[in-house]
């Protein structure tokens, strides 16, 4: 009962954050006007701004934030390491590299689906490399994270090389965008792909939340409780790759969400993944909606999301690590 109440409260918070994000910006809306424009107005420019700019952007922020937080939770369970995260372990930079190569080969003519697919392939490739090397070397899960960090460095370096070799100024700007992350490109079309990937991944993870609890134990314990840890770990990383890739393909690399949000939730509510997964999804959504609001409100031009999450995340993380916010 407590779990349902918590999830409901966080969901209500998310809805409020999304509404706040729609209301505040270059053009402001009151709550009353927002409802009026959504329900009764069908022609004005102010309604167009809500429907085609603010709403998809706020929903994209909610979806991407939720996706990255869930991917963080799952990666930490799979690697049995609280510092693991798709961003740190090279899944995001793999996706980013895939999207960059696709843009360089096909230029701007590539559609959303093509971009998303190539990002997915990149993410899948980097995840497969992590797993293949872990199995090949019979590495412990602790070594797995080190292999991930090495793959992250490889993908990031290749990405930097592509940027260095690129002569096209427009393309260069697009490539740099991936390294910083922004929700400015949000549209109903790309929102659909992000929603689809997140939905599939989230259903898989929630259906397997008990197994995710087991994968967090030692392999012997997981086996004794009926799980095949190697296969399940592989499956989890495939879904993490799918979810991360869909976000990175359209909105670039947004770091720290997958570490900050799960840690706050674990500090507050413990590590049971049955509760942690839905809570992470909605809380991650809240977090990124607010970060995006901040990114486009505090300066005359928009600040990249990755910059804000990094600036907010690091000190907050230190604070958490110093144990100032331990709720038993």
């Amino acid at each position: 009962m407590k779990f349902k109440l918590l999830v409901s409260i966080v969901l209500i918070c998310l809805v409020m954050c999304v509404m706040l994000s729609i209301m505040i910006g270059f053009v402001d809306y009151s709550f009353k006007e927002l409802i009026y424009r959504l329900l009764f107005d069908d022609l004005s420019l102010r309604r167009e701004i809500i429907i085609n700019i603010r709403l998809p952007r706020a929903l994209a922020a909610a979806m991407v934030g939720g996706t990255l937080a869930v991917c963080g939770v799952v990666t930490q369970a799979v690697a049995r390491n609280p510092m693991a995260d798709p961003y740190l372990m090279g899944v995001s930079s793999g996706a980013s590299l895939g999207a960059m190569i696709c843009l360089l080969v096909f230029g701007g003519s590539i559609g959303s689906f093509g971009l998303s697919s190539s990002a997915f392939l990149g993410a899948l490739l980097s995840s497969s490399l992590i797993l293949a090397m872990s199995f090949k070397t019979s590495a412990s899960v602790y070594h797995m994270i080190l292999i991930g960090i090495a793959i992250n460095a490889l993908c990031s370096s290749l990405g930097s090389l592509l940027i260095y070799l690129s002569n096209d100024a427009n393309l260069l700007r697009t490539l740099v965008f991936w390294l910083m992350g922004s929700l400015a490109p949000a549209s109903w079309e790309n929102l659909f792909w992000v929603f689809l990937a997140s939905f599939i991944g989230l259903i898989f993870f929630i259906a397997n939340s008990r197994n995710i609890n087991l994968i967090n134990l030692s392999d012997d314990e997981a086996i004794s409780l009926g799980l095949s840890p190697k296969n399940f770990r592989l499956l989890c990383l495939v879904f993490v790759a799918l979810m991360t890739a869909s976000s990175v393909a359209f909105f670039g690399m947004i770091g720290f969400v997958g570490i900050i949000v799960p840690h706050i939730l674990r500090f507050l509510f413990g590590g049971d993944h049955i509760a942690l997964l839905p809570l992470s999804f909605f809380s991650g959504g809240c977090f990124l909606v607010l970060v995006d609001l901040l990114a486009r409100s505090i300066a005359t031009s928009e600040i990249p999301l990755g910059v804000i999450t990094g600036l907010l995340g690091s000190p907050f993380f230190f604070w958490l690590l110093l144990g100032k916010w331990r709720v038993s």
Binding site: S138, N213, N216, L217, S218, D220, I223, S224, G226
Partner: protein
């Protein structure tokens, strides 16, 4: 219930760990595996729930080869209390509920009856006060009790335990093993402490250098000559006046 190893050989990497193991478990209720460090006790136990696959020979459970079972089927029949605990920030009650996972499908909820059963186990092992505590804040002995509770929640006829009294003080050792002895299950327990093995076990398997070199009642196995041969120690063997079991005196 019957677990049997036939001509079993197991390697880890290039290292041969178990060699020509032939045992039958099922005639006696409380079975102990003893032997010096590196004799292969834990490897044998791990192979009994299919973590390690044999190079040669096989293990069978109820006359069917163990590797032909799905992991989930085995988890409904064999529960394990491992030597190494790997727990994360979760309440004691939730850890014990993990024992029910093999019996649950994806979205199936834990029923009221199952919750009552969990409460019964918590009562049985005296874990009431710890029920809502974060398991990572417990002492080694308390954690061991929680893992036993989780294994009991699996409702299996067979329970395997790998050195369960390691790192426990004498109070928890006795409490833990008394609880274990009272269970109506087929038990296979790896022991380092020969006197605890003698006190609690009906049948002992003695291992040395990756193979079984003797089996029988504690009276048969814990003799001066066998202990000298296997451990290289000269000891005295006395008889416990209460139980009649042998006591090893250094």
């Amino acid at each position: 219930m019957r677990l049997e190893a036939k001509d079993l050989g197991i390697s880890i990497g290039t290292q041969k760990i178990l060699n020509d193991i032939n045992i039958q478990i099922g005639h006696n209720r409380f079975n102990g595996i003893i032997g010096p460090n590196g004799s292969g006790k834990s490897t044998l136990l791990r192979s009994l729930f299919n973590v390690l696959r044999p190079d040669c020979g096989y293990i069978s459970f109820n006359d069917r080869v163990l590797t032909s079972y799905k992991r989930i089927e085995l988890a409904k029949n064999i529960a394990v209390v491992p030597q190494q605990q790997s727990l994360f920030e979760i309440t004691v009650e939730k850890v014990i509920q993990m024992g029910l996972y093999p019996h649950k499908s994806f979205f199936e909820k834990i029923s009221d009856n199952e919750l009552k059963y969990i409460d019964h186990i918590i009562d049985l092992l005296g874990l009431n006060k710890l029920k809502n505590r974060d398991v990572t804040t417990l002492s080694g002995g308390e954690r061991q009790m929680v893992l036993l509770a989780r294994a009991l929640a699996q409702k299996t006829p067979i329970l395997l335990l790998d050195e369960p009294t390691n790192h426990l003080d004498i109070y928890y050792q006795i409490l833990f093993l008394d609880n274990l002895k009272s269970l109506d299950k087929l038990l296979v327990v790896v022991f380092h402490d020969l006197n605890l093995a003698s006190k609690y076990c009906d049948h002992l398997f003695l291992m040395s250098q990756g193979t079984i070199i003797g089996e029988g009642s504690p009276q048969d196995i814990l003799t001066k000559s066998i202990i000298r041969q296997v451990y290289g120690l000269d000891v005295e063997i006395l008889e416990n006046p209460k139980t009649g079991k042998p006591v090893v005196v250094l």
